[in-house]
Amino acid sequence: MLWLVLALLVVLCAGAFAAGRALAARRAEGGKAHSRPNQHAAYALIWSAAPAIVMLVLGAVAAGPVTQKLMLEGAPEAVQTLEPFRRQAFLGDAHRVGQGLEAQQLWEQPYAELLPAEGRRAHRIESTLTWGGAAAVILAALLGALFALSQIKASMRARNRVEGWIGGLLFACSVVAILTTLGIIGALAWDSLRFFQSVPPTDFLFGTQWSPQTAIRADQVGSSGAFGAVPLFAGTLLIMLIAMTVAAPIGLFSAIYLSEYAGPVTRAVVKPVLEVLAGVPTVVYGFFAALTVGPAFRAFFNGIGAQLAGGPLDGLGQYLMLVQNQMALVAGAVMGIMLIPFVSSLSDDILNAVPQSLRDGSYAMGATQSETVKRVLLPAALPGISGALLLAVSRAIGETMIVTMAAGLAARLTFNPLDTVTTVTVQIVTLLTGDQEFNSPKTLAAFGLGLTLFVATLGLNLIAQRIVQRYREQYD
């Protein structure tokens, strides 16, 4: 159906183009037209395509929700009183039955009995919507084309109008960025609000116990107490700190060496290598952390523990012998390595932006190269570099795959790098994969975490960009 409508639309648009061209040529006969026939034709084309595309997009966005609403309103009592998750499944199966497919699950009475009728109703609703939508699209295209054709005359400024449309279209493209931001904020805020209705924000932000798995049971600590996100924030912070202790010095020293010491050949070799490191997908780092770095670190610490056990440091030895594959140190170290190219390329740019005259002045005073770097370049580049490090911090906080695969799931309030910790992103993934029930605080908590994450990274980015911007202007 969709392809048929699209094909028809293409034919209509082509017709409008041809008609516009012919009409413009005829109406301009004898006199001098403002615009060329092709520009009139483009005008007709735009007027037939634009309304139709708007209708198509509206239809694509609205079809799902409208179907859902209609199905729900006409549904029998038994279906309406189902809990939301199963109701969704039932309506999904009704859709499948209506399409002539098998239902996905076996339904007990009375639902099994209701299913065929509901299937027919789903089919009716869907086909009505589809046909209605198709008719609306074609009608919009036809009306638009007729309007444009009626406008064509020799004195019409078709070119200016077409260019106005093009400008509008380009503007619309850039507005998508704003819409995305609004979409993110809207989606996160909406579901977070629903979450905060059952769990007060203060409990979420300052509570120290996180155990969402048990939130459905009635005999638990209390659903509000189980959603304290402080252990997650602590885990995120710990891993971020470890990552930055790896990434900041190594990235910074690489940048200094590349911009101050390395010759063109070294630069030509090392820069692409760092770019490769930056291009490796994070899931690959995660795999490496989980299956190579984790076991290696574990063997290392267990070995040390075996040496210490039985001696004066027996307690520590016993502890080290129990260290697991999943620990904050593994995730943090690998994440730090992932961030090296990020830090180094940003710092490299910033160091290169420091004017040569500062270096020359320092050398003329007899300073060595390292003294110049330490006493002149770094102080001059400090704001820029701190901005770059802040951007890296925001990256580390939002990074998901490495921590999901290597940090573990235990929500523990600890700053011991050898412990298993969990982070905000890990919990979002855990809460939203597998079976979900869409109105329980458990799944909604993911959106609360998402909102926190978004606000934190947005704040860091804004500050960092402000710093970098101001620093750039300083030497321009």
Binding site: P65, I166, C173, V176, A187, V273, G279, V284, M401
Partner: protein, 431 residues
């Protein structure tokens, strides 16, 4: 300063000595500083080598597999002529093999142990053979099928006899049988075509990456169709048309921020808007492509803007002076000149989107999807999410396959990036 005394020769020599010692210290410090830089770079490079080498070492063995060719006596008492697929061929073959070897099997446990060495593919291959040529019934015919994942790992040396028997998945007896098969020459090592022609499967020896490759390709298609026109359009507007006002500034700040939003947040956006609000099919390449498009948009806009910026203003001025309108100038002169840069930027951002995993987890692409995807609205897998699924699988044979899937993923990214570099080399113009 007039009353400053002239330094005595002794004091002068002492000062010179201090200076020289200081100079030595300063030079040593200089050398150390330089060494730190070298070490940092060496560390980064070493890590890259270890990472790639380790994955290569872990994954290369997955590119070969072991198969066995066994003569199957098509026992008419065991095979239902009308429904051959209902026969337990693995057990049948195991029993016949034991009989050939003369191994007694009083309680059927030996047959069960031997049977587990064959892949379930044996059953499908035999059933298909019988249903295609029923005249084989009552006769013996050789059939080739993969060995089970554990048997395959044993031949590859991943499961060793030296491990205590209780800690490995194969018993001593099973290992003896495998050695015996090998001696008889019925086991072949060959290129693992199944890895490239199959979709995902719960059985490692039958699992392949093709389903995920197709899923990723469909997803990237959706991403490219949405992100490239939108991104280029937005970049043109911002670079060539936008008036300097609040709205423009706001859009620019917005784009810069979106580029730094964590990818998992885009996954939440996709889940809330595309799946829960618009009711688009979960885990489908359509939803995945939409999410990745939104995510790729900011970087694409930034890359396109910089290549538009690289076109010198004299080109625009010349076109405008000849009477072209602004639109004509941009679309007939500036954009064609900026095209190589635009294409390079697009390919690189698509390669980035290909490797992105976190948003896919949230829109349901981590569930097991067997078979090959056929359309953009059916649930499908994707390469990075396949890596994630296989990494979590408990079977050890999936470890080498995960590395192999990573190698395939990296190969695609290398090809895309190489294409981008070639384009840049071939068409880039310095003004």
């Amino acid at each position: 300063m007039t009353d400053a005394s002239v330094p005595t020769p002794a004091a002068q020599a002492e000062r010179l000595g201090r200076l020289e010692a200081g100079l030595k210290r300063r030079h040593a410090r200089e050398g150390r500083f330089k060494l730190y830089g070298r070490l940092a770079i060496a560390f980064a490079i070493a890590f890259l080598v270890i990472l790639l080498g380790r994955i290569g070492l872990q994954g290369y063995s997955a590119f070969t597999a072991h198969s066995v060719t066994v003569p199957v006596y098509m026992d008419t008492t065991r095979i239902d002529r009308a429904y051959p697929a209902g026969t337990n061929f693995e057990l049948l073959v195991a029993e016949q093999q034991l009989a050939r070897w003369g191994v007694a099997d009083p309680d059927g446990s030996n047959a069960a142990a031997l049977r587990s060495l064959y892949s379930s593919e044996l059953k499908f291959a035999a059933a298909e053979r019988v249903s295609r040529s029923p005249e084989l019934l009552g006769r013996s015919t050789p059939i080739s099928a993969p060995l089970s994942d554990d048997a395959d790992l044993y031949f590859k040396g991943e499961i060793k006899r030296s491990t205590p028997e209780a800690q490995r998945r194969l018993s001593d007896q099973q290992m003896d049988w495998l050695d015996r098969m090998k001696e008889e020459g019925v086991v072949q090592r060959h290129f693992a075509t199944a890895l490239f022609t199959n979709g995902d499967s719960t059985e490692p020896e039958l699992a392949g990456v093709l389903g995920a490759v197709i899923g990723s390709a469909l997803m990237l298609l959706v991403t490219a169709l949405i992100a490239i026109p939108l991104g280029v359009g937005a970049a043109i507007w911002l670079e060539e048309f936008s008036p300097r006002n609040r709205i423009t500034a706001f859009i620019e700040v917005n784009i810069n921020n979106l580029a730094a939003v964590p990818s998992i947040v885009y996954g939440l956006l996709g889940l809330a808007v595309f799946i829960n609000f618009m009711h688009l099919p979960r885990a489908s390449p359509l939803v995945g492509g939409l999410v990745l498009a939104l995510m790729a948009l900011p970087t694409l806009i930034i890359a396109t803007r910089s290549s538009l910026k690289a076109v010198p203003p004299s080109i625009r001025e010349a076109a405008l002076a000849m009477g072209a309108s602004r639109t004509q100038t941009v679309f007939q002169h500036v954009l064609p000149l900026a095209m190589p840069g635009v294409m390079t930027g697009s390919i690189i951002s698509m390669a980035h989107a290909l490797g992105e995993t976190a948003p896919l987890l949230l829109i349901g692409m981590v569930s097991f999807t067997p078979g090959l995807p056929t359309s953009i609205v059916e649930p499908a897998g994707a390469l990075p999410s396949l890596v994630y699924i296989w990494e979590n699988a408990s079977e050890r044979a999936f470890h080498e396959r995960t590395a192999a899937a990573i190698i395939v993923l990296l190969a695609f990214m290398v090809v895309m990036n190489a294409a981008a570099i070639l384009l840049r080399r071939r068409f880039e113009r310095r003004w």
